[in-house]
């Protein structure tokens, strides 16, 4: 049995130790906000925070996060109570089809929390591991910039 903290809550997982964290979150904990885009660490759709660091959950076996802190998009806000970052995405057009969005948000969240600068180039570097096929990135960068400025 593996114990971890997910979005501030203690969770237990019983099952194969090498099951991908992505599948454990989605299937066992029913947190389907985290998405799969490639399953090989290239697209960033599955990004979650492990002890505050953005990580591709498709590459992490659940045994590796035993005793650690995992945060997913579900911890950010709800449709009725969007976080400031999510609000900025809504205002600046940072989401289109929405499939890359949870991963983008989570990466951007880490950027915000680590004191990321009010600088589009730095934001582009921070988001470079998250693919988006819809937006052309600019409105995502603007969304994050808006959130940084309001922080």
């Amino acid at each position: 049995m593996i114990e971890l903290r997910v979005n501030g809550r203690k969770r237990r997982f019983r099952g194969p130790a090498f099951k991908r964290l992505l599948d454990v979150l989605r299937e066992d904990f029913r947190l389907t906000g985290t998405k799969e885009g490639c399953g090989e660490g290239e697209c960033g759709a599955c990004t979650v925070l492990i002890d505050g660091e953005p990580v591709n959950a498709c590459l992490v076996p659940v045994c590796q996060v035993a005793g650690r802190r995992v945060e997913t998009v579900e911890a950010l806000g709800t449709p009725e109570g969007l976080s400031p970052l999510q609000k900025a995405f809504l205002e600046a057009g940072g989401t289109q089809c929405g499939i890359c969005t949870p991963g983008m948000l989570v990466t951007a969240w880490a950027y915000l929390r680590s004191g990321g600068r009010d600088d589009p180039d730095a934001i582009r570097v921070a988001l470079s591991g998250n693919l988006c096929r819809c937006t052309g990135y600019q409105q995502i960068v603007e969304s994050v910039l808006t959130a940084v400025r309001r922080r």
Partner: protein, 720 residues
Amino acid sequence: MRSRRKEGPEKLTGVAKYIDDFRFQDVLHAVTVRATVPRGRIKQIHFDPSFDWTGVVVATADDIPGENTVLLIERDQPVLARDEVRHVEEPLLVLGHPDRAMAYDASKHVRIDYDPLEPVLDPERSSTVFKSFEIQKGDLEAGFAEADAIVEEEYRVPHQEQAYIETNGIAAWEESDGTLVVLGSMQCPYYVHKALLPIFPRDPGKIRVIQAATGGGFGGKEEYPNIIAAHAALLALKAKRPVKLVYDRHEDMRATTKRHPARIRHRTGVRRDGTLVAQDIDVLMDGGAYITLSPVVLSRGILHASGPYECPNVRIRGRVVATNTPPNGAFRGFGAPQTLFAAELHMEKIAKTLGIDSVALRRKNLFRLGSTTATGQVLRESVGARQTLDRALEKSQYSRRKKAAARWNRVRKNPTWRGVGLATVFHGAGFTGSGEIFLKSRAGVRLTPAGDIVVDAASTEIGQGTTSILAQIVAEALDVPYEWIRVETPDTNQVPNSGPTVASRTCMIVGGLLERSADKIKERLAADGVRWPLTRAALRGKNLSITEEFEKPGEIEWDEETYRGDAYGAYGYATLVAEVEVDKLTYEVTIRDVVTAQDVGRAINPLLVEGQILGGTVQGIGYALLENVVFENGAMANAQFTNYVIPTTLDTPPIRVEIVEEPYSRGPFGAKGVGELPMDVPAPAIVAAIHDATGLFLTALPALPEQIEEAFHDRAPRQR
């Protein structure tokens, strides 16, 4: 109005449900077993006896209750191959297991024996022509006789993968009342409905197709979901339990449709001053193994092949042929990015040959009010070509940048070359010619007894903002707050057929129907004595519903036989200026700056329009510089994001967007199509910029460093 995306909050919180997020009781996870050879006769299918097959359900062509055909334009493609395979990855059977890993495992224990047949992999060698078209205007020979110069060139464009981030996926089950339900990622629920009927003959009302949240499509989920839906439904009926069929990235890239590659030849007669007098264009597209939408892609390709320029004598011939690769299909732009790449680069070549400025050359020939297109259509309104050119030149400070680049290039020790290039394109909005008339789309607005205003349309939200735009149009027409409008989920049991969500038609055509419906509702309410500003209380208990059907605009005339007449109601126009930098050592191309001006008629929601333009521009940047589908023995060899590279934040510069508004009288509030136009313009502009930087005239995409290096070796290189 920069109204916020309606379904945004669900997407931003992970609450929005994509197909893989749904859970079903007793579900089987399905896997498709596919051909491994490009062409062959199927001898036998073996199920490895050493594998434990308990719990595995297998469906083959023999389980199909109706016709074994994926209905689209032709009935040439089987749902599951029975005797012969015509491409690698052709589906042969579907199997399912309650455990996804076990299902994958089982699929690896199926072996197929073939009598191999010789595949055709080069479209130039194909003897099967799926479709050909010819457009004729004026007298070509007389035109060439008038010319001072004749400029010829051949251009090539490759496959392109849609690379939506959500892979394809569909779930299917049968309800106790015998309704076959299909739920999934798709652009066109009514296409799926139509395709399922011949395969599963039953009362049309007993097939219900529902769109789940869809993580991008770009054409890649226009026709392919028909096949996945058929597979999932077949297995669900056989197993008598729900089936979920979700592709992994590798399978999605290898098996599903891509943009048609093309070879385009231009032969152009020009006067010394740059006036076009004759254009002879020949287009060859590779359709892959089955017809799918190829005739329509080709049609759109040739209708845009001469570019947004007026020329008195034109011949455009096009054909799309069969090869033994997975079928190609819809991808944003639908044939036009292919032919416009050639058309625009050819303008550069003409300018170079004549020794005149390519902007001046464009300006001389560009469409204006009253121009006649290659099909003989007179452009009577909403022609913003020139405005987009002027605006893009001005905002990019084109001449200043170009001079600065030339100065930079004169400094030998600089590590790069810089160059500035541009392109101007047009794109027909909505379906071609009589397409909309055949579709007879319907959409409506309804007031519920509770006082809700509901939009009924089958148009899907796949990221582009359908839900928001349609709600905005109705809100604006009824003069009520945007928040009051609810847009129904596309579900063939609930909403009328407003046609497919493709071809930049949603805002213009469906939006137009909704505007008319809303106008009628407004009249009825007014007649009932209701006063504005409306209150929700005033709406309660009204129970009104209006559905409008597309009507042929009186003045539009199109002849499908001769390809003469009004190919589209209106065209969008775009110009893009790109500045690039080419590394002298690695030949890597970096984009320094992009400015694009696009005439969309009217931007109903500027935020969403900008989003479409930005996204399309970046897909175009990928097409130009990065995206390279590698084929080996008829199959995609680099079917992963690791080696099929699409642009990241670091491959894309900040892009400046200028919206030009030349309203179209028949679009809602003047709007024309927005979706596809942005995809057409980056590639030719970027390749022109590389030309400006290096002096190399590349004629094929993508412009990878290898290609640039090769071109340097092939031609007398500019001094380093």
